[in-house]
């Protein structure tokens, strides 16, 4: 052991303070001072980050302990107020005006190819479309719903599920829990027949969403993975 560490320069002092902060040995006042430095001094903040990374393998000593079941709900209440039952779904930007024209082209084209556009339907909500997308996600779907037969045809405009996972389609009536409509094909279009009892619930403004699920889909009856795209369905 040399005494190089006793030959202190301001720089080595700063680095040592960062290390002590990360190690956790400082008292409350010194820690408060470090927090101020982190906020105001980029060099010090970088040193702290480097020490965090350096010592992070020691995190392996922490065992997993299941937190109380209400934790996430409590956090969401603190952050977002009292969320509606479908709260997490509301944060998605549900409709982007700029996408409507492009979407119409995609859906009509897909519909024509699939021979979906037969004689004009009679019901008022007979044919509806949605574009599904989300902030922070480049995955996008176009969906066409034919009320008469309860048929949804949904096509991936961009994006595919990760290897070993599936996309699952859901619809959400305002204030209610999402209802699964089944898995999507990994590529191309998917046709889904909505169960007769559910058809009445799909009206102008109903939200459709796609979540990223384990292979075979959610086993809980509710989405377990991130919502990668969502959008409201509207009459053409």
């Amino acid at each position: 052991m040399t005494d190089r560490d006793d030959n202190l320069t301001p720089e080595s002092e700063r680095d040592h303070l960062a290390a002590e902060y990360v190690l956790g040995v400082l008292d409350a006042e010194q820690r408060a001072r470090c927090r101020q430095l982190i906020a105001s001094d980029a060099d010090f903040a970088a040193r702290v980050a480097t020490w965090e990374d350096r010592l992070s393998p020691l995190n392996a000593a922490y065992a997993d302990v299941t937190p109380p079941a209400n934790t996430l709900g409590a956090v969401e209440s603190r952050l977002f107020g009292n969320p509606a039952p479908a709260g997490i779904w509301n944060s998605l930007r549900l409709w982007r005006t700029g996408a409507i024209a492009a979407l119409l082209a995609v859906v009509v084209l897909a519909g024509m190819n699939a021979g979906l556009f037969g004689p004009a339907p009679t019901g008022q909500d007979a044919r509806m479309i949605a574009t599904l997308q989300a902030d922070g996600s480049n995955i996008q779907f176009a969906a066409l719903y034919e009320a008469d037969g309860g048929a949804i045809r949904i096509s991936a405009v961009a994006g595919a599920p990760d290897e070993g996972r599936d996309f699952e389609l859901w619809f959400i009536e305002s204030g209610n829990a999402p209802v699964s409509l089944g898995l999507l094909n990994r590529a191309g279009a998917t046709s889904i027949e909505v169960p007769v009892g559910q058809r009445i619930r799909i009206t102008d403004g109903t939200i459709f969403a796609v979540s990223h699920e384990p292979l075979g889909g959610s086993t809980t009856g509710a989405p377990t993975g991130p919502v990668v795209a969502a959008g409201a369905i509207h009459k053409i």
């Binding site: 052991m1 560490d5 290390a19 000593a61 065992a63 299941t66 934790t71 977002f80 902030d135």
Partner: protein
Amino acid sequence: MSWIMDPIEISDLISRTALGDRAAFARLYHLSGPKLFGVCLRILKDRPDAEEVLQEVYVKVWQNANRFAARESSPLAWLAAIARNHSIDRVRARKPVARDIDDVPDIVDTRPDPEAETISLGEQGRIDECMDELEDDRAAAVRSAYIEGYSYKELAERFDVPLNTMRTWLRRSLIRLRDCLER
């Protein structure tokens, strides 16, 4: 589960959280909550406190997610640092009443559990090698400082050495660890 979490997925979820995606935030919580709760419990050694701090940790994760994107760091290290810092700050803010040490085994095994060890053998193996280069009591002091969040004063008492000796131990040990890890 635990640190078996896929860092790329965790990074992605933090980035989405920064964009206000609540579903991504919920998923992030489900993946990382048990590990971070383990961190809080280990340092706070009090369940109600740990439950409260865990909530604060995730409030902070939501609020600071945008800072993560700007930083090149392991997402797990970033999350654990938030949990450790909150827990340690809470401990330091307590009135200086001794912790209820009777509730906690005095000598806690701070070695990584075997499962965790196999996970990140690269990094884990490296830090263990570097720890092995330290004297046993120095290495034990570093581990218990980091893992349990003990202050200099607590460490000096536990290792039965004067406060300044403990400061010197840790100063030299940290420098040697840094030099070893960067070799």
